[in-house]
């Protein structure tokens, strides 16, 4: 029997044995009224019985995806050699005929462009961080900076797809779908896998957030990320129709349950029982989602940490706090996507603004999780789909329009929390920040490592589709032991 089907059957059994025929509504209400997040013992809903394969260091993931590709050489990967050689052609011995996007593919002049702002070392680990990211610098000792990431995709959409689904072509399950399929979730009132998007205030880039980034591919669609919207109801169709009160809805649902109970008795279809519990869950979500988005009980100190945008629905800061509140309530995987890192010709104007938008909230999230004791088993990931060229895109004399093109050959991401070796850097790029010099980490290695932290052997979490056993890491990937705590 299919595990999903089995889950439904289990639910129906729970239904049969767990509650009386008429008491569902009141039982649900009672649960709601008595809800106490901190006291509730985590109960896993769904998931495969064979998981975890080994004890997990991390129980949940918040992925702060930086869409557009943050420039590693300006933010994390300090390269004095570029300053030394400012304006000089980057040596062919470094480039080795590498391919670039059509935007610089035809450009023959490739002058080295130094970091556009200053770097300093931070924390006990002495991590290099740009002064555009003072808040990130302040959490350096919680982070592991992976400075030798590389990918094989040179355009945004395929590279993002690769990072988040393990394949450059849309249609495979995303990481969050794999994790909720494998590990289930710990909340019945909120989705186990949530995606939220935001973009820079200047709206400088037109990258689109395709829903395949949080899709379920060939896994059942219930594992697809639920996209929280940036305006209006965060969840589609969440609110009752205008004019229908919650009391009216409760009454209607109680009657609906009574009638469905008759159908269940007559037809004996376990899907009917599942449907009944799903309608109850929908009702609970109507309360739990507004409660989730209601920041009024957050201490002012905490709100201040996330910055002034935190109260603006759809902003990165808002989404960061939402992410914390979601994992606190049992969500397994929260995927943020923030666009605006595609500095082809506005490096000197836009990068600083972009950093200001994201630096504070990202660091605040880590600090906030730490404050609540959640950081030790929550994995936070920050990074984009590739890096940016150490050489200039544009004319070196035209300072205002300096830019950097897509650079898949090396880039930096940082991770914090759940089982990651804090206060360290892993891997190195060469003197130009062009390619990995030590301990190269491929996307599939990175994914294998994330799964490992969650107690999953990436070669064993598979799903058969079209006659083949598929997995997040395709047929590749090695756990990067060096960044494990």
């Amino acid at each position: 029997m299919h595990p999903v089907h089995e889950h439904a059957l289990l639910q129906s059994r729970r239904h049969f044995f767990g509650r009386t025929a008429t008491g569902i509504g009141t039982a649900a209400l009672a649960t709601l009224l008595n809800r106490d997040i901190s006291a509730a013992a985590p109960k896993v809903i769904g998931g495969l019985p064979s998981l975890p394969h080994h004890p997990a260091k991390a129980k949940r993931v918040i992925y702060l995806f930086q869409n557009g590709a943050p420039t590693h050489v300006d933010l994390f990967d300090y390269k004095p050699e570029l300053t030394k050689r400012k304006g000089e052609q980057i040596p062919d011995s470094v480039v080795k005929g590498a391919r670039f996007s059509t935007m610089t593919g035809g450009q023959t002049v490739r002058p080295c462009l130094p970091n556009i702002t200053n770097f300093a070392q931070h924390g006990k680990g002495g991590a290099w961080v740009s002064d555009f990211l003072p808040h990130t610098a302040s959490i350096a000792d919680d982070c592991c900076f992976v400075k030798s990431m590389f990918t094989t995709q040179v355009n945004h959409a395929p590279a993002i797809c690769f990072m988040l689904t393990g394949s450059e072509m849309p249609g495979r399950p995303s990481m969050g779908a794999w994790l909720t399929y494998g590990l289930g979730t710990e909340t019945e009132e909120l989705p186990g896998f949530v995606a939220m998007t935001s973009r820079d205030k200047e709206a400088s880039c037109g990258q689109i957030f395709y829903d395949s980034y949080w899709g379920s591919g060939f896994l059942p669609t219930k594992f697809q990320g639920v996209k929280f919207r940036g305006s209006g109801d965060p969840v589609l169709y969440l609110s009752n129709p205008d004019g229908q009160s919650r009391a009216s809805r409760r009454t209607a649902l109680d009657d609906l349950n009574k009638l469905n109970e008759l159908t269940l008795k007559e037809f004996g279809d376990p899907e009917t029982a599942t449907r009944m519990s799903q309608y109850e869950m929908a009702y609970r979500m109507q309360m739990s989602v507004p409660e989730l988005t209601d920041f009024s009980k957050e201490p002012q100190k905490v709100l201040d940490m996330y910055g002034p945008d935190v109260k603006k629905q759809g902003s990165f800061a808002f989404n960061c706090l939402m992410a914390r509140r979601l994992v606190e309530r049992g969500s397994r995987y929260v995927q943020l996507l923030h666009a605006g890192w595609d500095q082809h010709r506005n490096l000197n104007t836009q990068l600083k603004v972009q950093c200001q938008d994201t630096d504070g909230p990202s660091a605040a999230l880590v600090k906030d999780l730490k404050r609540l004791g959640l950081l030790e088993d929550t994995l936070v990931i920050w990074g984009g789909e590739f890096g940016r060229t150490p050489f200039l895109q544009g004319d070196i004399k035209d300072v205002k329009s300096w830019g950097r093109d897509h650079h898949p050959y090396v880039f930096t991401v940082w991770m914090a929390g759940g089982g990651v070796k804090a206060g360290t850097s892993y891997g190195e790029s060469d003197d130009f920040g062009f390619a990995p010099a030590k301990d190269a980490v491929h996307i599939h290695d990175f994914q294998a490592t994330i799964l490992h932290l969650l107690g999953i052997d990436h070669t064993k979490l598979t799903f058969r589709f079209q006659g083949r056993d598929y997995r997040l890491t395709d047929v590749h990937g090695h756990v990067v032991k060096g960044l494990l705590a």
């Binding site: 935007m103 229908q244 449907r275």
Partner: protein
């Protein structure tokens, strides 16, 4: 009953408190399809052995030459049966057996790191097979189906309406299970009407059926439905999912396209009962037929439904190759039920499809003049469906827009220049905000909608005259775009005058060309035609017998040859794959569960002989396929009121309506779907069909059902896509304001779901678990989540339908609550509610009435949901209360299911 017991429990999974022994799924499948029991110890290669070898061994010892280890192949008889690998008759002397449980753990096969392991039962199967002489065979799906003898069923407890029932009964009898009684008439007519038209029956139709006591009453209903134009609309949906049909391109920009005349072609083809071979040939190669008609060229729009990537920075050739990959693979999935994607990079791991086979198939589609550049949703070759009025409108709209552009461009130039100042280095830089400078630089044509807002906001006080022009310009641009987009141009297929050379690509990378290939149909392992000796899959005996068509009429093989090969009577797959998909449509799950995969790794059919019988019947229908006999009904020959073949008289070859009719008139289909706990435990997925199928309606059908039951449905067929209710901001958020959702008004809100505009990057939100329409999908998934509940409870579409249904009930249902709820209930479920149900519903109305009486404003607000007018004479409190109860009815499990 150990086998049946393990049958329905997955390995190592727990049900309740019972822990199951760890058995591999493959055994379950073997057991389900044909139990290997002590009474029947004969091991069958294709059924019992090949699935084990394929799943556990072929990864390293199969068709893929590059992945092969130890130079050993187990997919070839000559290689596998070579001593000491397998010594026929002597399992103990065979190294294969030895390695499955070796003394030295390092020798174990499959190796531990492969995560594959043979169960004790599987090892026993292999041993028994070798001891029985190691007879070799072929994968069943690659062998041409022969018409099996229809079993004679002498058990009077089984109703046999046609051969389908004989095959189903044979299996049930073997399993010691019985048929369920027929479903009640009301439930049956609702089921078949939804299945054949996607709409619920009207009360008149239900009454007529209830009154008709003739033995042919049900068949008459089926014939009426097959003749209804709604049938074509219903059947089109699944085809559009498979053909990845949408109204926009996908990817960044996501420009609109006008492929809807092709969608209407599909509806007509189903309604006219176009034979499936013609349906196939016209869509794959209509343009290559002698003197093709406009309709035949239109049909080839099928292959242009793929996504188009207009992202800046994309290389045209890279796009073009992607499109051809998509065309080849979609064809492979839809007609052959095979996954070709793996072979982009390497020989198939399991199926005898070499990389060369893949690129030979690719080569057929590689001959189109499309070059991959640009993101136009009307990229030639196209055929124009513009009417003279549309042409006129387009010209006028363009002229109006041009007039405004001429006025506004100089103003904008001045504004930009005025914003420029010299900096210290003597260079000009702008003092305008970046957003504004960028909007101005783009110019009126390339500006997004949102840029207009930004400009208006910025210059509102400074340049009132300019700002006054902007809304007009925006409107003129929208009118121009709408007029251009309104002119339907359907992208179709054509051949380049000179052939484009086709190469294999290393790891599917379009830049890394390997050997040259020519168009050629897959030989599935047999060397013929374009294939070369030495190809990895060459000579594999798993392949089905190669066949070739008579030489091409063209100087080189083209898509028409491919299409004819696909529908050739020699092709073992096309008919099987197609009848299996039809079976899935009506029974919820295919006879082969893996609708998308008939390869070696596919699931064995639950009823192999039935599948073959249906496949042969599809290609060569018997003039009267129904068995004679005392109990065997012998209804009149099918008489389809629809046009085209399949009319009065005998069915034609490839007659889709004939197959549909066979399926829905079978006793298996007509059974009650009530299930006992024992039977559910025994056969949770209902593969044996000891009961009728019970499935949730697809999301689109739930919407159509609500529109029809509430009387809101607009019945217009075909035409441009419509934009019904959708929560605000969906498109805007997904496209950064570049695409605005302009909801339609009036009748368009109530068109069938088939006509709803499908934006690929963010599909219509009301179809909560629909196919993505990004790539080919032949298997729908229905899920059961709180998000669906929220949609059908709160979406305006459903609330308005509930309001309209309540109004109908108040106007026509009767004066009492009991009559009204019964009326509404019956319009949706086709049956009268029981007394208990009426009681619950009436009590519900009373409770809601109390709530709305206390809050009249709420009642008034609720009744304002949706654009359709309300009968203001009706009491608002009553109407609101009944609206909530009708919404409840529309959400009943019984209503969401069929």
């Amino acid at each position: 009953m150990v086998i049946a017991y393990t049958l329905f429990n997955p390995p190592g999974h727990r049900i309740g408190t019972l822990s199951m022994p760890r058995l591999l799924p493959i055994l379950c499948i073997v057991a389900l399809t044909s139990p290997v029991t002590a009474a029947d110890p004969k091991v069958d290669f294709a059924r019992d052995v090949l699935p084990i070898l394929s799943d556990k061994c072929f990864q390293c010892h199969g068709p893929d030459e590059k992945a092969r280890k130890a130079d050993l192949r187990l997919d070839l008889k000559e290689e596998a049966l070579k001593a000491p690998v397998i010594v026929a008759g002597k399992a103990d002397a065979s190294e294969l057996v030895e390695r499955l449980a070796p003394a030295d753990p390092a020798e174990l096969m499959p190796p531990v790191k492969s995560n594959k392991k043979l169960s004790a039962a599987e090892i026993a199967t292999l041993k028994a097979w070798i001891n029985q002489g190691a007879a070799w065979g072929q994968h069943w799906a690659f062998v041409k189906p022969e018409r099996p003898k229809v079993p004679t069923i002498n058990n009077p407890q089984f109703t046999i309406n046609n051969p389908i029932d004989a095959f189903i009964a044979q299996r049930l009898i073997r399993e010691k299970l019985s048929q369920s009684p027929p479903a009640e008439k009301e439930r049956l007519i609702r089921r078949v009407t939804l299945d054949l038209t996607g709409l619920p029956p009207t009360l008149e139709e239900v009454d007529a059926f209830l009154k008709d006591d003739s033995p042919q009453a049900y068949e008459k209903v089926v014939d009426r439905l097959l003749g209804s134009p709604r049938y074509g609309e219903r059947m089109a949906w699944d085809w559009l999912d498979a053909a990845r049909y949408a109204d926009s391109n996908g990817y960044q920009g996501d420009g609109e396209r006008t492929m809807w005349p092709w969608r209407d072609w599909v509806i007509r083809a189903f309604n006219d009962n176009m034979p499936y071979d013609r349906f196939t040939v016209e869509q794959l190669a209509g343009d290559l037929l002698p003197n093709p008609t406009k309709e035949q060229i239109l049909a080839t729009g099928f292959n242009r439904n793929h996504m188009i990537n207009g992202e800046g920075g994309r290389i045209a050739e890279e796009n073009r190759v992607e499109y051809v990959f998509d065309q080849a693979e979609t064809t492979g999935t839809i007609w052959l039920g095979l996954t070709f994607t793996c072979s982009r990079c390497h020989d198939h791991k399991f199926d005898p499809i070499s990389k060369r086979d893949y690129y030979s198939l690719f080569a057929y589609f590689n001959q189109s003049p499309v070059n991959g550049g640009g993101g136009n949703g009307q990229t030639p070759p196209v055929i124009d469906f513009a009417s003279p009025e549309q042409e006129k409108k387009r010209k006028e709209a363009q002229a109006a827009y041009d007039t405004l552009v001429i006025r506004i461009v100089p103003i904008e130039r001045k504004l930009r220049e005025a914003g420029m100042v010299k900096n210290k280095e003597g260079k000009y830089e702008t003092t305008l905000p970046q957003l504004i400078e960028s909007a101005l630089r783009k110019g009126p044509n390339d500006r997004a909608d949102q840029n207009y807002d930004e400009l208006i906001k910025h210059f509102k006080d400074k340049e009132p005259e300019y700002v006054a022009l902007l809304p007009n310009l925006r409107k003129a641009k929208q009118a121009r775009d709408a007029a251009a987009q309104g002119v339907p141009k359907v992208m179709v297929m054509a051949e380049l005058p000179a052939p484009r050379e086709t190469f294999m690509f290393t790891r599917g990378d379009y830049q890394k060309k390997e050997g040259k290939v020519v168009p050629g149909t897959p030989t599935f392992g047999k060397a013929e035609g374009g294939r070369q000796k030495g190809d990895a899959a060459f000579g594999s005996v798993l392949g089905f017998s190669a066949f070739r068509l008579p030489p091409s009429a063209f100087p080189r093989e083209n898509r028409l040859d491919l299409a004819r090969w696909i529908v050739s009577p020699e092709n073992p797959l096309t008919a099987r794959v197609t009848v299996n998909r039809l079976w899935q449509t009506f029974f919820g799950i295919g006879l082969v569960k893996t609708t998308e995969d008939f390869g070696v790794q596919s699931e064995r059919p639950s009823h192999p002989e039935l599948l073959d019988w249906l496949a042969v019947e599809f290609q060569n229908p018997t003039p009267n396929p129904l068995p004679q006999g005392e109990r065997g009904l012998n209804p009149a020959p099918p008489s389809f009121p629809g046009k085209g073949v399949g009319g009065v008289g005998s069915p034609q070859p490839w007659d889709v309506k004939h197959m549909v009719r066979l399926m829905v008139t079978s006793a298996a289909y007509r059974q009650s779907s009530v299930v006992t706990p024992e039977l559910r435990e025994r056969d949770p997925d209902n593969r044996l069909l000891a009961r009728g199928a019970r499935h949730r309606l697809p999301a689109w059908m739930i919407r159509d059902q609500a529109l029809a039951a509430s009387g809101l449905l607009t019945s217009t067929i075909g035409g441009p896509a419509v934009k019904p209710y959708q929560p605000a901001g969906i498109w805007e958020e997904a496209t950064f304001g570049n695409k605005r959702y302009q909801q339609d008004k009036g009748d368009a809100l109530y068109r069938r779901s088939l006509y709803v505009f499908w934006r690929r990057i963010v599909g219509p939100t009301m179809f909560f678990d629909a196919a993505s329409r990004q790539t080919c999908s032949v298997k729908g998934t229905t899920t059961n989540t709180p998000l669906h509940a929220l949609a059908t409870l709160n979406d305006i579409t459903y609330v308005e339908a509930a309001r309209a249904l309540a109004q109908l009930a108040m106007e026509k249902g009767g004066a009492t609550d009991a009559e009204r709820v019964a009326f509404a209930f019956r319009r949706v479920t086709a049956r009268k509610p029981t007394d208990t149900q009426v009681k619950i519903l009436v009590a519900g109305v009373e409770k809601q009435r109390v709530l709305f009486a206390e809050d009249k404003a709420a009642a008034a607000t609720l009744l304002k949901t949706g654009d359709s007018p309300r009968n203001e004479k009706l009491d608002a409190t009553d109407h609101a209360a009944l609206t909530v109860v009708c919404s409840l009815i529309l959400n009943l499990d019984e209503v969401l299911n069929k």
